[in-house]
């Protein structure tokens, strides 16, 4: 199979948006589900959350950060290219219902998966308070979109270039200590951020969900590579998750498992960069870096 790329642009440095033609996937998608894609025959299968979908247009939008070989290569593709594989929707949809007040926390590229949740919770009649964070102002994504789908929006930057100078957890803490009853918190972002949120909510009695992003292969429950420990029980994040109760997640284990292939990942990037230099000579025409 091949899948057409309908749209593709760099939102902020190293973070890209790509819209893919996949009508059957779009039709079946619900909030918090993800896809797995493979660029070409030699490519790796990588999971990315569905940031948006349009049933009428038959399209699915993903937002990704350049990390290693696959995402760097993906970043170079244009609407003239195609993807060989695009499987989804995968994972359990979030249980979206009318609860009252929902706090959505997105860090870095984690704002992307928060966005469809904001839409869905809003539609179900909830009050949505969003906290979106980035290292710096120029790395902040989807601010306008989040504003249209939230009742309140807080922005945090690590360097103080916009909004609150500090971390998303500072705002979570303030809200929890405030008067407003919070019925659910959903936090998605880098594992360190999710772990920090889990730490902040610990003393409070508020349901808190995180969306885990372990290394995956098939995404259908077949390999067990994505296993995580939740309250001492082993779960497969791709079929039992990706959302889990933040306070039960063994973050240390998950983070260590994410690092398993660090040396192979650098080797893959080196190989990719040397290979494309040799192919194109990296002249003016080169689009590979």
């Amino acid at each position: 199979m091949t899948y057409n790329i309908l749209e593709k642009y760099e939102m902020v440095p190293t973070v890209h948006l790509m819209k893919i033609q996949a009508p059957d996937v779009a039709k079946a998608t619900k909030a918090s589900q993800f896809i797995i894609l493979r660029i070409d025959e030699t490519g790796e299968r990588i999971p990315l959350t569905i940031a948006d979908f349009d049933v009428v247009e038959g399209s699915v939008t993903i937002i990704f950060q350049e990390m290693g070989k696959t995402t760097k290569y993906l970043a170079k593709l244009t609407t003239d290219d195609t993807l060989q594989d695009f499987v989804g929707p995968l994972g359990c949809p979030s249980e979206i219902e009318k609860l009252g007040t929902i706090v959505l926390v997105g860090g870095g590229v984690g704002v992307a998966p928060i966005y469809p949740q904001a839409k869905a919770y809003r539609k179900a009649g909830n009050k949505v308070i969003s906290i979106i964070g980035a290292r710096s102002k120029n790395l902040l994504i989807l601010e306008d979109e989040m504003r249209t789908q939230s009742d309140e929006v807080y922005i945090t930057t690590d360097d103080g270039s916009k909004g609150h100078h500090g971390f998303v957890t500072d705002i979570v803490q303030n809200l929890l200590e405030g008067d407003e009853v919070i019925n659910r918190i959903v936090a998605i972002g880098p594992p360190v951020m999710m772990r920090a949120v889990a730490g902040v909510v610990e003393p409070f009695d508020v349901e808190t969900l995180v969306s885990l992003n372990p290394i995956m292969v098939d995404g259908t429950g077949m390999c067990g590579g994505c296993r995580v420990s939740i309250g001492g029980e082993t779960k497969f994040a791709c079929v039992d998750g990706p959302e889990f109760d933040a306070r039960k997640v063994d973050f240390n284990l998950m983070m260590s498992r994410l690092g398993l292939y660090r040396s192979e990942e650098s080797e893959a990037v080196e190989h990719y960069e040397s290979e494309c230099k040799s192919k194109t000579g990296c002249g003016d025409e080169c689009t590979c870096h």
Binding site: E44, T70, V217, D218, T220, G221, M222, C223, T234, L253
Partner: protein, 463 residues
């Protein structure tokens, strides 16, 4: 009396370092000599042992006079995957077990002869199959393993339009993600899959039923459905340390190596951990395949840890012998009780106990017991769990009324029909992990049942 022809193989010390096929196949002379051993029984017992009903004496007869074109034609009358069956069928417990020659000497090497004919035709260029006139019916097949492929080819031969939905990006099921290249080269699987495509079967990869569409939805679009989703959910032992870095399920390890071609990393992007010392837990074909892959990736020592003795090893004898020749260490009557790791949560080894065999259990095999105080540590940086798989429950999502057993397998009647009218199932999803040929037999049976069902609905509609 002539002796059974031995299979030429790559020398053990060479093949332990490459992923090329181990068994090289008979030469033409060998094939003809082996064929001549068959005495063409009037009432051939061998056929009973073949779940896809190959007319064994007939195809072997053609081989005797070197008419291999005719031989492969006869095989393909009932089996669309001969190059695969000829390689991975457990012939010793199928057709060959019933061969009359087996009583006094060794049985005719039916599987190897089948492989020879398939390879002969492949080299010459496979004749495309004839298409049948269309019945106007449309059948959905879920899963492209041997069960699904066989059902698809038989249904397409009957003139139905067939669409296969496959969760992965490649068709073949365990044939592509599990069984290693050196046992079953992937381009051979691809060619047999393509052959089935030539019947007009449409294969849709990247399509997870239960997620993108459900069985209930398929029922509205199709006249009948066959479910052949296999038993792909890996089991773990539930012991301490099993989630440490470096512990793989055999499924993950083999999928990375075979489907994703991690042995060609970094030409292929998917990595797999290479290591010095590897432990594989289990004693079946899956364990042997994992161990032999790990060895080929360059490990210094690969050992099989199995809780019973050599005699009970469930793997095919041939594979056990091949593994031994290649230098796989067998630690029998041994079981891991805990997996050990360092502060970075990387595996460092397994704490194991010795076992002894007691009274037979339900399966008739002697039950292993732990020997008190026999705890000891075996160092390892990779541990692969090959202790079985279960059916994946995903298929049941949105399949109202589809009945399952306690083990999670789909319940079918003797014709392969599930609790939902017009929906058949077969292969590992019904039996639990079994064999390629039993899955194919089930696919064949289901195809017959679906044919009858579609005939019946046709007549009903005509009234």
């Amino acid at each position: 009396m002539s002796l059974r022809q031995t299979m030429p193989t790559q020398p053990a010390d060479e093949r332990a370092h490459n992923f090329n096929e181990v068994a090289l196949g008979y030469t033409m002379e060998q094939a003809v000599s082996e064929a001549k051993r068959c005495i063409e029984c009037k009432n051939p017992q061998c056929v009973k042992g073949c779940p896809v009903n190959i007319d064994i004496p007939a195809f072997i007869k053609s081989m005797k006079i070197s008419d291999f074109d005719d031989a492969i034609g006869k095989i393909k009358e009932t089996n669309s995957l001969p190059a695969i069956c000829g390689r991975v069928c457990p012939q010793e417990t199928q057709c060959e077990m019933y061969c009359v020659l087996g009583k006094k000497e060794e049985p005719v090497a039916i599987g190897r002869l089948e492989r020879f004919c398939a390879d002969y035709e492949r080299e010459k260029g496979v004749k495309p199959p004839q298409r049948t006139t269309s019945t106007g019916k449309h059948v959905a097949i879920v899963g492209s393993g041997p069960a699904g492929l066989t059902a698809a080819s038989d249904l397409a031969k009957a003139g139905h339009k067939v669409t296969i939905f496959e969760a992965l990006h490649a068709a073949g099921g365990v044939l592509v993600y599990g069984i290693p290249e050196f046992m079953l080269p992937k381009d051979i699987v691809q060619e047999e899959v393509d052959y089935i495509g030539q019947f007009g079967v449409d294969i849709k990869p990247d399509y997870v039923i239960g997620r993108i569409k459900t069985i209930d939805e398929l029922k509205k679009e199709f006249d009948a459905i066959f479910i052949g989703t296999g038993a792909g959910l890996p089991n773990f032992m539930g012991i301490d340390g099993e989630n440490l870095n470096g512990v793989y399920s055999a499924n993950e390890f083999l999928t990375r190596v075979n489907l994703m071609k991690a042995y060609q990393f970094p030409e292929y992007d998917t990595p797999v951990k290479k290591s010095k010392r590897v432990i594989v837990v289990g004693g079946g074909n899956v364990a042997m395949d994992s161990a032999r892959c790990a060895l080929r990736l360059g490990a210094d020592e690969v050992s099989i840890v199995y809780r019973r003795s050599d005699e009970e090893l469930p793997a095919r004898r041939e594979e056990i012998e091949h593994a031994k020749e290649e230098g796989i260490v067998f630690r029998l009557l041994m079981n891991p009780v805990k997996i050990l790791g360092d502060k970075n949560l990387m595996v460092t080894g397994a704490e194991c106990v010795n076992m002894e065999l007691g009274e037979p259990d339900d399966s008739g095999r002697r039950r292993p017991h732990e020997i008190q105080g026999s705890e000891h540590v075996i160092d390892a940086d990779i541990i692969i769990m090959a202790i079985g798989t279960s059916p994946n429950p995903l298929i049941f999502e949105g399949a109202v009324g589809l009945k399952a057993s306690d083990r999670g397998t789909i319940i079918v009647n003797e014709s392969g029909m599930t609790s939902i009218e017009g929906v058949c199932a077969g292969g590992d999803i019904v039996t639990g992990a079994a064999t390629v040929i039993s899955a194919m037999g089930a696919g064949k049976l289901a195809a017959e049942t679906i044919n009858e069902y579609l005939d019946k609905t046709n007549q009903e509609n005509a009234c």
